[in-house]
Assembly symmetry: none
DNA sequence: AAAATTAATGAGCCTCCCTCATCATGTCCA
DNA sequence: TGGACATGATGAGGGAGGCTCATTAATTTT
C-alpha cells in the first residue's frame, strides 16, 4: 500500500480515460449485450455492466435513459445485424414451397444460433408497453411482410386459393415457430431447424394450396423435384461444363 | 384526535383480527389477483396488496414465499376455475372440423374474456425459469393434449393423413392463437373469437386432411420426372464442385 | 387462569435503479 | 503557451420496493 493512501485514507481517483461519445456508447452496448445474454433482463445489474465496461454507473446513465432503454438499444443493434442481406439470400430461391420453407428455416436458425438474445426479445422486450415504438417492432413487421408477399404472390398466381386473411397466415407461421421453440429457449432439449421447418412448411403449404392442383403423392414428388431442380440450378452455375451443357433451365 | 394519542404520540395498534389460515390466504389471493390484473406483475406492489387485503406487508410473506410465488398461486387458482367442465362441453360436439374449431374458439374466448390475466400468464409466468414446475404448465399440457387427441383420432380414422408430428400441430394451433391475440393483449384493437377460430381451423384442417387420389395424367409425368431427378442427383455426386456446394440436401 | 400456540405486526435491512453536484480532460483560440 | 470552454466521467446518495425477524397479541389448550 502506498504511503499517501495509508496516511490520508483518500483513494486517488484512477486515471480517467475520456472516449468520444460514439466509442463509449459502443463499448457499453457491447458489454450490456453480454451481460443481458448471461443474466437475462431482470437479473442483469447496471453496476456490473458499468464495471465490465470500465466505467462507473453514472456514466451508463449519461448515454442511456435507463435500463429499459439500454435493453432496447442493445436488441435493436443486434437485430439490425441479423437482418443484413436477408433479401439477397431469398432472391436466389424459386418456388413458393421453397421460399416459404426458407423464410421459416431462416427464422428457426436465427433462434437456434442465439437463444439468449431471442429470449430477451420474446420474454422481455415484447412484453413491454413501449414495444410498438421500438425499431424492432418495425423491422419485424417488414420481415414478416416479406413472407406474406410470398403468400400473396402464390394467391395471385392461383397456386394458393384466395380469400385467406394474410394476417392469420402470418400468425400461424410465426406463432407456430415461437411456440415450437419455447422449450428450447428455456434450455430444455434441442431442435432441428431443418426438420422443424419441413414440418411447419408442410402444414402451412397444404393449408393454403388450391385443392385439386397437386395432390397426394404428386404433391410430395413435385416438391421434391422443385428442390432438386433448385439445387442443381444453383450448383450448375459454379461448374462451367454443366452450365454450358444445360444452359439456363430456370426459365 | 383522542387524548392518549396526542399526548403520548403512540399510535394504538388497530384491532387485530385473526383469521383461519385458509381464509387469510383466500383473501390475499383475491386481492392480489385484482392488483396484478390492474398493474401487471412488475408494477404491482406487495404493500398495496397487503393494504387492500387489510393486512400488513409481513403477513403476506407469512403465507407466500415471495412475490413470484404469489403470482403463481394466483394464476393457478384462476386457471383451475377456467378448466372446469371443459370436457363436458366438448363431449356434445361431432366431427373433426367442429371439434377442432371448438377447441380453438374456446381458447380464443378465454383470452377475449380476461386479457389481463392472460397477459400475466403469457408475459410473466411463462418467462420464468420455474414455469415447468408450475401446475399451470401441467394443466396446460393436459388441455392441449385434448386437442391433439382429436387430431390423432382423425389420423386413425384416415380423415387426416398420417406421419404428421403432433407436436408441430399443437405448436401451430396454440402458437398461432397466441400470436394472433398479441396486439389485443397490448390493448390495440379487438378481435372476433368466431372469425379468428374459423380462419385458424380452416388452415389447420386443410393442412392435415388427406387429399383425394392423384390425378391420372399427373401420375405418369411425375414418375418420369422423379426418375430424371434421381439420375441427376446421382450424377451430381460425381462432380466434386457440386457435391461440395450442395452438401446435405435438407438445407 | 396460566401456558402454549400461532396469527399479525411493523421497523428496518438490502439491493437496485437512477440523479446530480462536482471534477477532470481534451480542445480551441488569443 | 496558457486560459476559457465544452463535455466526458465520477461517486455519493436518494428512493422504491422486496423481504426478514424480533416482538406483540389473539386464541386455544390444559
Amino acid at each position: 500500500m502506498r504511503n499517501a493512501q495509508a496516511v490520508s485514507n483518500i483513494q486517488p481517483r484512477r486515471q480517467i480515460y475520456r472516449l468520444p461519445r460514439a466509442q463509449r456508447v459502443a463499448d457499453i452496448m457491447l458489454t450490456a449485450r453480454a451481460v443481458f445474454r448471461e443474466k437475462g433482463y431482470n437479473d442483469a445489474v447496471i453496476a456490473e455492466i458499468a464495471l465490465r465496461a470500465g466505467v462507473v454507473e453514472g456514466t451508463v446513465y449519461r448515454y442511456f435513459a435507463g435500463k429499459r432503454d439500454l435493453l432496447i438499444k442493445v436488441v435493436e443493434h443486434w437485430y439490425e445485424e441479423m437482418l443484413t442481406d436477408y433479401d439477397r439470400q431469398l432472391h436466389g430461391i424459386r418456388g413458393t414451397w421453397n421460399r416459404l420453407r426458407f423464410m421459416i428455416w431462416r427464422h428457426l436458425t436465427v433462434i437456434h444460433n442465439d437463444p439468449a438474445m431471442c429470449r430477451l426479445i420474446f420474454n422481455e422486450l415484447r412484453s413491454g408497453a413501449e414495444y410498438r415504438e421500438t425499431a424492432v417492432f418495425e423491422l419485424n413487421r417488414e420481415y414478416t411482410n416479406r413472407t406474406l408477399a410470398i403468400v400473396q404472390d402464390a394467391m395471385d398466381s392461383g397456386e394458393f386459393r384466395g380469400g385467406i386473411p394474410l394476417r392469420i397466415v402470418r400468425d400461424m407461421i410465426y406463432g407456430g415457430v415461437e411456440h415450437h421453440i419455447w422449450a428450447f429457449l428455456r434450455g430444455e432439449g434441442d431442435f432441428s431447424p431443418e426438420e422443424s421447418a419441413d414440418g411447419i412448411t408442410d402444414i402451412i403449404y397444404r393449408g393454403l394450396v388450391r385443392p385439386g392442383a397437386a395432390i397426394d403423392r404428386g404433391e410430395q414428388a413435385i416438391r421434391r423435384l422443385e428442390e432438386v431442380a433448385e439445387r442443381l440450378e444453383q450448383a450448375s452455375a459454379l461448374v462451367p461444363e454443366i452450365s454450358r451443357t444445360i444452359g439456363n433451365a430456370s426459365c
